[in-house]
Assembly symmetry: D2
């Protein structure tokens, strides 16, 4: 039986939805998170024999998320994830590693409302945080966002590419470039200003996308990553995954019309997918930060 | 065989994704629609014998959407739907009724960008339009929105309800009230200002939700519908469907903590669902407007 | 204020997930439902004033679903929905109408397993039931299914259609025909054999799709509806909604290959959508059965 | 500028939907795949300067999927992925690594149909394959499945777990155990019998789940992985991700009823998530096989 080994294992409560309201008199504010906990350590017994003495139930993990949200509030996804990491490592001697993944959904105040406790859920972009911590106190923090959908209606060309026998795509000097940005960046240090750091990163991703004259989505990806790293020396690495949301100019010639890149069919599948990692020279090793 | 009749039939191309860019020099603007066409009329032959002489292909319907978007531009979902309705009724003698359903996805300019052709997709709310037209020139127009997610963190009570043997819910004088607004309103007349009309309707739905002190979601629904009809005498009817997105205050007493309505579990299913139709007395009959 | 009226209203608990295990010694069986309750009646007070004395909470409705599942078991979606309808009408004097919508997810025993309590969830098709009941004892029952995905790889032609200026589709004498069947049929009477009735209806829908040589999806729709009604005189009406899941033969000529309808691109959007209602002459009026 | 480096990059066409019909006279058969291509190699130019001379367009990659499906047929996801890997490595001198990810959707013949070209899409489980290849000829093959939903209605206990201050879960000696199996296994060698290998693996995962008396989902996970590895010496490693799809026994005591584990609420979120990797001692190093 010992010819098979349990190489890695982790477990936890996934997708704990916690909404935290903070009240300053009649002025309320809101944070809305989806928290996933994953713990690892000495888990051989439960796997091999069903002895659960070293299992902290995922139900208790869920309870801890709510209890710590009450006690500490939620000042940012990253800060709350760090609080949770420290909590789980302190709680159980048999837990040697904790991983907290957070999605945050943004809300704004309802425009035009008199009340200060009324909120409107924003956008389809989701803010993310991924925090790992070890029993020895080491932590890693990755911030990010996903589903930030952007489009340039010009200033994008695509030509000069390699032609193999399956290449039929015409070259173009004017196309729509659209993507749903999925980006994450690894911090070299912790900060007190996670929200401000996030706001700056999001802003630079948007303007880098908008103001890069593009000859390929790869080039745009690189520009976004580079500008992200340049604007904050505390970042060591960025990973970007950019689906090319194809917008095909519709051929209107059968109907006696021309199409000066004004009418497009927005395709679902298939799509190009461009992925890349940029790293600052001398950045620390990531360890498990991205797992 | 004549004991079975084809009572109703309609067919068309669904979910035609069309993105229309308008260009004023370097200043671009964008409209992003999902258009579904459904035509009806004399369709017995194709159903009963497979004779397609009276079938306008759904492929041609799709082509028409693109061709007319090029020719007319897209000034609003409602206007474009009306253009399509008239087109299909004029094209085919055997088509006696056309139904156009539109979803519109909102974009804004990318904040901070220099370029005037860079856009950011907004929100998760979708604007909708449903337009019907008959060969005799009759048209109906319904405007709407869906997935407008809003939340009040206080000023909501729920008590005094009927108690049957299955009632275990405690009464409360303070709860979170959250919903994803799905609303549609029927116009009595057409207008040149569809976008302005929509903006006003959306604004009043938001403020009615925010500033109604609520004793039930039903009461809030009625307030939203009533204020919508009052602000625009051109509207005859409004339909609202409001899922009660339950936010349950977490019981923290096992952990020695209290929860002054600050920490909530946002539940997915099941959910309350409140639906209602409000009509202005004297409004025209809806006919097929909502089909 | 009395110029605006609450024309219709209904409310209830939606998507109550109930799994009911029945045990005959070591032999277990399972029914897995998603139940949505909607009640209507004298609901003016809660809408207009927030007085909830005539509101049966949606929480109590949820509890009733579980309580009645325990008491009566679940012998079929239709039977359980009828039990619920009668229960809600009997519970509350101010409820004059109840609507129960059920989705059922199918499970089978795990093949090869020794245990008689192990199950594998089947298919992506969902069985549905929609039952309405009035205080006067009138009930209507609609059974159905959705997401039954089927495909014929030949014996489908499409030609002889009307040509307008936007028609560019080539005629074809051999194409793939695929759809996701969404069908529902209205019973004229109740039965003790809902499961058997469903099994027969599903079987005839499948064979009618498979064995109809098709000149249009409309023709296939009619054949499916007609054979459904013919096989069971207790059915009065059937509604079918068939998306045409286009499978486009890929043009391989640029690569020096031919494609004898063997390689297809399965498209997502747009898609044709064919909808029709067939009724048996002399069938009862549907009333609210389809609402 | 050289303080920032492009550490990794890959790109390709994702989600190419290809349906391949094979015809033996009137007897047809079908394979239905979703193929994602990702290529890597010397990609610096396009990222840094927008020079695309070393970019094989994702459009050409898509074309190749269809062209090779026509030429070679699709005998299994793994075999087809291997064909594609070799093709892309042979096509472009600047491509040093190819990654092909495949999802396969299962179809069966329509029961009761006369025709031999009519198919019914099965299940919600998806078969997967992930194949990597290097320019030096090295390949790795991972087979798998996801969304295989299974449930045991008894023979599952959960007790003896660690109690921290947040632990409130009662211990139980009888519960429902349900999960959606996501499993993948790495082959040490290639085979001609990919379909047979898959069928055996699927069968052993099902019976291991069903016939393991469970004291924790971790224990069940280990049993599934262990039996998978034992039944096929050609497998070196298996990864399992098992969400604990909680089925909570409903408390019926307020209604004077008892619940002998017969009525359950099937919860969506949050859920436990158990993940583990089992490896055969002496198995080869995975390299990039799982990336």
């Amino acid at each position: 039986m010992d010819d098979i080994v349990l190489e890695t294992a982790r477990y936890g409560k996934a997708e704990v939805r916690v909404v935290r309201i903070a009240k300053d008199g009649a002025e309320h504010s809101i944070r809305d998170l989806n928290v996933s906990v994953a713990l690892s350590g000495d888990q051989a017994d439960t796997h091999l024999t069903g002895d659960n003495a070293k299992v902290l139930t995922t139900d208790a993990q869920k309870n801890a998320v709510y209890s710590l949200a009450a006690e500490h509030g939620i000042s940012s996804p990253e800060h709350f994830a760090l609080v949770l990491v420290r909590h789980f490592l302190a709680t159980c001697p048999f837990i040697s590693h904790a991983r907290i993944a957070v999605e945050e959904f943004a809300w704004d105040r309802i425009p035009g409302a008199t009340s200060r406790h009324s909120f409107l859920r924003l956008g389809q972009e989701t803010r993310t945080a991924l925090v790992h911590g070890d029993a020895d106190g080491t932590v890693s923090v990755v911030s990010g966002l996903k589903d930030l959908v952007v489009l340039n209606s010009t200033d994008s060309e695509f030509h000069g590419f390699f032609k193999d026998p399956h290449t039929t795509l015409p070259e173009t000097s004017d196309r729509v470039l659209a993507t749903a940005v999925d980006a994450a960046w690894r911090h070299e240090t912790t900060t007190d200003g996670w929200d401000e750091s996030y706001a700056r990163a999001r802003a630079v991703l948007l303007t880098a996308f908008a103001d890069t004259y593009s000859y390929s989505l790869q080039q745009t990806l690189y520009a976004m990553g580079e500008q992200l790293l340049r604007q904050d020396p505390g970042l060591g690495e960025v990973r970007l995954s950019l689906p090319n949301r194809h917008h095909f100019a519709v051929d209107l010639t059968p109907f006696g019309q021309k199409n000066d890149n004004e009418v497009f069919y927005a395709a679902d599948r298939p799509y190009g997918l461009i992925e890349g990692t940029l790293r600052r020279r001398g950045a620390s090793a990531p360890g498990r930060a991205w797992d």
